[in-house]
Symmetry: C2
């Protein structure tokens, strides 16, 4: 044991590695370069990105797949990572944001240092960036004291893992190499339930299920990020209860399961799904965040009389809450219940439509997603950006843990970097990124990182020539964008294959070719009409219209 | 007068226009699209950018040239603008950041709306974004009440103009079209000096100047952004006192002036400049922020016994401050002083080196800047990114108000968007952008906006194959980046001309051709050795080494 000789920087890296982090995404800069060098010498691999926001999106996607992610930036000018951090906060993704900062000693001498903001500061440091990250992370630590740094590191990583939300760690550059004080790590003990309260809650769930004829599980992303998918599936199968998922929780359980009834988003849902959920007389919503997107603008069944609503912060049966019951205990308790009756309702079994691309027929978003469904294999992983790419992908039937999107924060431009982060997290699978043209223009050249690290993703670009999702809201020249020759991008990056097509047959061919290619990214530009909408987006507009 | 019928959104636009804003940079989004439509219908022109951070850099550059800039984003996912806003705060650029937000009514009904963060919130709104912008702006207004909105708009714009720093305005989307309450605008009255204190201060300045043999003016960016350049020059010429500038204040006064002695940055300075300043026995520093960059890591003359230090927040003669004297009055007062003696020291007159590109000779950064100097004309405007492009450009001799860089906040990737913002602000001049490869990879495709709005900029890409400025600090694989075929970018954008060269002759030719082209942007990739440094950067490293 050479614990006493471990430096502050090394301790942080060791703890991240301990919790499964194998890659850190980021960019160098003089306040963080010493820490970057430590990463280079560590078992964790440093992934150089072209920008800080993209590093954040990658870490977010990585965290959603692997359970913990990390990004590393320099001070001040690393602030573009604020956006993906806010996304991770909102969508509950456990990301550790690490920022280098000016040395404690140098700041004491002169505080007018480059990259610093100094709107709020103490004599020891500029606190402005810390104040910003307080707004979008659940815990923060400035490692300016090697005697307390270990406890601070452990505390924030524990909270990150427990709350599944981002945390912020700042390291002054003159502290990185200082030996850290010996510290005994006492893992966070999550709260447990009051046994009687839990028994009461589960008894009531049993009662509801005994009364119900058509119970239904509505599964959200917290089931996935709290590792409860297996337990929930055990419950569903034991009771033979069908399930729907939220869009943010899509693929928490495999969608090829016979009990899977679709992605439910109130009035935005596919009519079959909406009908099926509407017919339910007992909805058990687990880990669902009731957002505008996931409730179809709050058009999901609102009557709680026959419902269970359990999340990481609340367990509620009908109209009453059980403050002493934890989400985790509740889910495990449900799985231990015994079925009192047999249910006979089933979702319609999914039949893959035969794929019949018409030669010369104009490509539509609807066909594109049908075609994609046809070619998708269990080893594929789908990442979408925001816009029609997301709405269209809602209806895809995918395997477990095979989908990521900024489905609530809705951050345009997150798709390509998220696909890269996911691909690095699941190197044995093939990631298919689906991105709109407006979003693609925000982060297209981050494909540089895919080339640098020899990733083989397939990028499907839905080019509807502008911000298609906004045209039906208010039309104006601001919804137009410059049409690029997107397929020339592989030429810029010196790698990759570009396809451009505006026909069904052309798209099917390009997709088939792209999925077959053993090396290098593929970019398929689907040239669509500017008012072409996927079925999912059409339903979205309809629901939006009814709301307004 | 139809003032009562003006909406909240219109009033804001009218006020911006009144203060000289002719363009607003931004991206649409559902919370801001109604306001975007108002812009489209207004005399102000909306400039669609590809991203929010680039919109911010454009507005910042525009503000530095025109005296006020504005950018407009949607809520939450518009957070990438935080970085350029921090830059505008630190470097004192008057930018109005406008963010759409969720409607007041819709939020009251359900607060789980897309793009929102809700880490801090009231029943009326998510206040998280406001809290973030409080850290990087001098004033903020949430226009949620049409009866007070006019006063709030006037207050924040006044503060923006008075403090020369960014402000934040948030408009809920259901407020944009509401009629604003009638309001009488009472312009902010800036504080004036105490007459006796001013007299005393000026008397002391007169005394210092009477004693001095080699006085010198050290001119910072506050002289430019407070419109005092003419007054300072009047003083300099009347007294025949030479002047140096900071890097952030470069071209506040034309550098072709016979009294101009160079850009002064302590030990980073050109040896001639350093020698000239060191020989001075009385330095009058005006509007200088004493940052690490502008003081060459705090190596400028520190003895204040024969110095004057005047900024927007402090007027100091020798070791005592005059709290009742304003910067503005002090400068005007100085210009009204009468010279008591004649000084005989002069800066060396600048002789343009003859340009002799050697056929086949390997291109260096040093030659590149010499060559650029040779071709630069008074109508040219230089914008640099951060890195060797900035250090190299330090020595260029330029006309008044012809240079912009992130010279203190040092935000990599700001160059291309800043060049676009500047070009829109000075449509009759030609902007030359100088950018390193690492920076260029961050925002290269923002050239899309140059194509869309038919700007004719010339981009010089210093490709030293990675983060050259960091290699001498700590070398590692993280300093490398993927080499792109940069000259294929015009092909992606469907416009522009690409040149790639690694010889002196090739560069001179490409530059000549680019400057001649009447239409479309030009991109000149200067293929340099990865350890090639400009004279400015070499001096920087030397000063840094001496510091460490």
């Amino acid at each position: 044991m050479k614990k006493a000789q471990v430096s502050v920087g090394q301790y942080l890296l060791d703890r991240l590695r301990h919790f499964g982090v194998e890659h850190i995404f980021g960019l160098p800069g003089d306040y963080v370069i010493r820490f970057d060098k430590l990463i280079e010498e560590h078992a964790i691999r440093f992934i150089n990105t072209t920008r800080e926001d993209t590093a954040g999106y990658m870490a977010d996607a990585y965290a959603r797949v692997k359970g913990l992610g990390a990004a590393c930036i320099t001070y001040g000018v690393g602030l573009p990572i604020v956006n993906p951090t806010a996304q991770a906060y909102v969508q509950s993704s456990p990301v550790v944001i690490i920022s280098g900062s000016a040395g404690k000693e140098e700041f004491l001498q002169h505080n007018s240092l480059h990259h610093l903001i100094n709107k709020s500061s103490t004599i020891y440091r500029d606190t402005t960036q810390l104040e910003i990250f307080k707004q979008i992370t659940v815990d923060q630590a400035v490692l300016d004291d090697p005697s307390t740094a270990a406890a601070a590191i452990d505390r924030v990583i524990d909270r990150c893992l427990y709350e599944k939300k981002p945390v912020y760690i700042e390291i002054p550059r003159d502290i990185v190499d200082q030996p850290i004080a010996i510290h005994e790590y006492l893992p966070l003990k999550p709260p447990t339930s009051d046994a009687k309260a839990l028994k009461e809650a589960l008894h009531e769930v049993g009662g509801l299920l005994a009364q119900a004829e058509r119970p239904l599980l509505w599964i959200g992303h917290e089931v996935q990020n709290r590792d409860l998918a297996g337990t929930v599936l055990e419950f569903a199968e034991k009771f033979h209860i069908p399930f729907v998922s939220t869009l943010l929780g899509k693929t928490t359980i495999r969608e090829t399961h016979p009990l899977f009834a679709g992605v439910y988003q109130g009035q935005i849902s596919h009519p079959e799904v909406h009908k099926f959920v509407s017919a339910s007389d007992c909805i058990l919503s687990l880990g669902v965040m009731m957002t505008d997107v996931d409730t179809g603008f709050f058009t999901t069944k609102a009557d709680k009389s026959q419902q269970v609503v359990a999340t990481s912060t609340k367990v509620q049966v009908r109209h009453h809450e059980f403050p002493l019951v934890t989400f985790n205990d509740f889910i495990h308790g449900m799985a231990s219940l015994k079925p009192a009756k047999a249910y006979s309702h089933h979702p319609k079994s999914i039949k893959l439509k035969p794929l019949l691309p018409q030669p010369g027929k104009t490509l539509t978003s609807a066909f594109l997603f049908d075609c994609l469904q046809h070619y998708i294999q269990p080893e594929h992983f789908v990442v979408t950006d925001v816009g029609d790419c997301l709405f269209g992908a809602t209806d895809l039937i995918l395997e477990q843990n095979s989908f990521i999107a900024s489905a609530y924060f809705a951050s345009l431009g997150s798709g390509v970097p998220a696909a890269i982060g996911a691909q690095i997290a699941v190197p044995k699978r093939k990631v298919i990124a689906i991105v709109g043209d407006g979003a693609f223009q925000m982060s297209a050249l981050e494909l540089s990182t895919a080339v640098r690290y020899q990733l083989d993703l397939v990028v499907i670009l839905l080019n509807n020539h502008g911000f298609g999702t906004e045209r039906p809201l208010i039309e104006g020249n601001f919804n137009n964008i410059l049409d690029w020759n997107y397929t020339a991008i592989p030429q810029v990056l010196g790698n990759g294959f570009g396809f451009k097509t505006n026909t069904e047959e052309g798209f099917a061919h390009a997709l088939e070719q792209s999925l077959k290619r053993p090396k290098g990214f593929s970019l398929i530009e689907a040239d669509l009409d500017k008012l072409d909408f996927s079925p999912g987006l059409t339903r979205f507009f309809k629901a939006l219209k009814e709301k307004i």
